[in-house]
Amino acid sequence: MKISKDKWGQVFDALASDYQMLAPKEDKGEVNFKRVNCFSEVKQGYLNTKLPAKALFFPQHETLFTYQKEGQGITVKNALKVEKTIAFGVRPCDARAFLLLDKVFNNDQYRDPYYCDRRDTTLVIGLACSQVAPTCFCSQMGLSPVSTAGTDLLFIDLGEAYAVEAVTEKGKEFVAKLQGLEELNAEDQVKLETLKNLQTSSSVDISALTEKLDSMFDHPYWDSLHEKCLGCNACTFSCPTCHCFDITEEFRKTEGNRVRSWDSCMAPLFTKHGSGHNPREDKKARWRQRMMHKFNYFVHNNGDIACVGCGRCLKACPVNMDLRQVIDAVNKAELVVK
C-alpha cells in the first residue's frame, strides 16, 4: 500500500487537531523532534535528528512531582501529564532503541510511568532511510535502514508517495482508518526493492563481542583507550540507548519539584559516594563501564546489545573517539591468559 505525500499532508494536518504531533523540524540549523501543527513544518530530506528520539519519552529534564510545604506538612502532587501523541519521522535506529529502553524502564520489578505512559499513548510512525552515511552502522547491529522494529507503522519514501507498512496492532488499526491508500504500481515495487536492500557498509562485527568482554575486565587495552577522552557528556547525550539519569531537587521558599535529568556515566560525580569514595575513579574505569554496559552487562540482563549503530556518538565527540574502532580493537585484543 502507499499514500501520496500531499494526501498524507492533509491527514497529518487533520490529526494535528486532536493529537500532539511530534516530528523532525529544523530550528536554528539543527533538526530535532518538536511539536508541529502542520505537515509543511516537517523537515524533509535529513539524515537523522541531532538529539535522539528517546527525548520523546525520556526528556532531558522533566518534573517527577511537585510538593508544597505548609507548616510541618507536605502535599505531594504527581506532575506527569500525558497527551495522545503521534511521533512521525522516527528513523529505524531510534525506533529499535525504543525496544531496548522499554526493557530498562519497565524491568522485572518496576515500571517507570513517566516513560511508559508516554510510550503507550504514542503512535510511532517510522520513516525508513533513503540514504545512509558512512558513520551509520545499523546493518551491522542487527537492523537495517528499512527495519520496522520499534515502529507501529513504517513509511518508506518513494519520492511522490510513502509506501506504508503496518507493524503492530496499533499500526494496523491506524492504517485501517487511513484514507487515500492506493496499491503500489510496478515502478513503486522496483523502487521499494532497491530501498529494501539498502545496507550500511562498516566493518563492525559484534558476533563474539559479548563473550570477549566477559574476560576482558582487567585487560591492558583499557589503560590506553581513555587517554584522549575529555570526559564530557556529548556522546551519552546524543545516544538513543543511553538511559542514565540524575534525580535532583528544585526548591524555592515553600514550593519544590523533584526533577529528573539526563546524566552520564562519563561524568566523574556519577558514582561518587557521600563519603568521597568513588568506585569508578578515573576515565579508564568509566570508558570500560560504557563499553561493558552496552555490549556485555545489557546483554546479560536483557539479551540485546544496547547499541543501534546510529553513529551519533562518533559525530558528536570533540576528539573523534570512534566506537567502531573500539569494537574492532576489542575483537582483535588477545586475551591475557591468567
Binding site: T66, E249, E250, F251, R252, K253, E255, N257
Partner: protein, 160 residues
C-alpha cells in the same frame, strides 16, 4: 552567607507601586559601616535593599551576582571601600578589575545597565550611601521586575 536569606525578605506592604528587591553586598569595613552611619543619623533611604555583609569587595565572586539575579533579585548593589582605603590594602584594587569585566560582560549579554551597580562608599559617607541606594532604587524601579537574562523560570532553580 546562605543564599536562602535573600528569600526571607521583609514582606513590604502591598501598595500598587513596584517595590524592587535589591541585594546589597556591603564591605564590612566601609560601606556596611556607612550604611550603619546612615541609620544612626536617621537618614531615610528606601527599604528595598537586602544587605549581605562581605569581608571585602574583593570577596565578591561573579556567581554571587548571577545567583542573586537568578533567584529573583531585581537589582544588585556591590559597595566597597574607596581604592586606597581597603582594610586589606589591595582587596578593592583586585575587585575593581573583576567588577569592570563583570559589568561589561553582563551589559554585553543584554542585562540592563542599571541592574547591577558598583560603588565605593566609605564609613563616613552615611548620607552618600543613602543617595546611592535611592538612585539605584529609582533606576531599578524604572526598569521594572527582572524577568530578563538571568531570571530562572518560576518555581525552577534552587535556593539551597
Amino acid at each position: 552567607m546562605v543564599m536562602g536569606e535573600i528569600q526571607e525578605s521583609v514582606n513590604l506592604p502591598e501598595n500598587q507601586e513596584f517595590q524592587p528587591k535589591i541585594v546589597a553586598f556591603l564591605c564590612n569595613w566601609c560601606s556596611y559601616a556607612g550604611a550603619d552611619l546612615a541609620g544612626v543619623s536617621r537618614i531615610q533611604y528606601p527599604a528595598t535593599i537586602r544587605t549581605i555583609r562581605i569581608p571585602c569587595s574583593g570577596r565578591i565572586n561573579p556567581l554571587y551576582i548571577l545567583k542573586a539575579m537568578a533567584n529573583g533579585a531585581d537589582g544588585v548593589l556591590v559597595s566597597g571601600c574607596h581604592p586606597g582605603d581597603c582594610h586589606y590594602i589591595s582587596g578593592n584594587f583586585v575587585a575593581r578589575r573583576k567588577f569592570a569585566l563583570i559589568k561589561s560582560l553582563l551589559t554585553h549579554v543584554g542585562l540592563e545597565e542599571d541592574r547591577v551597580n558598583f560603588s565605593w562608599v566609605s564609613a563616613a559617607e552615611g548620607g552618600r550611601f543613602a543617595e546611592v541606594v535611592k538612585g539605584v532604587t529609582d533606576r531599578v524601579s524604572a526598569l521594572g521586575p527582572n524577568n530578563g537574562v538571568f531570571k530562572v523560570a518560576e518555581r525552577r532553580g534552587t535556593d539551597e
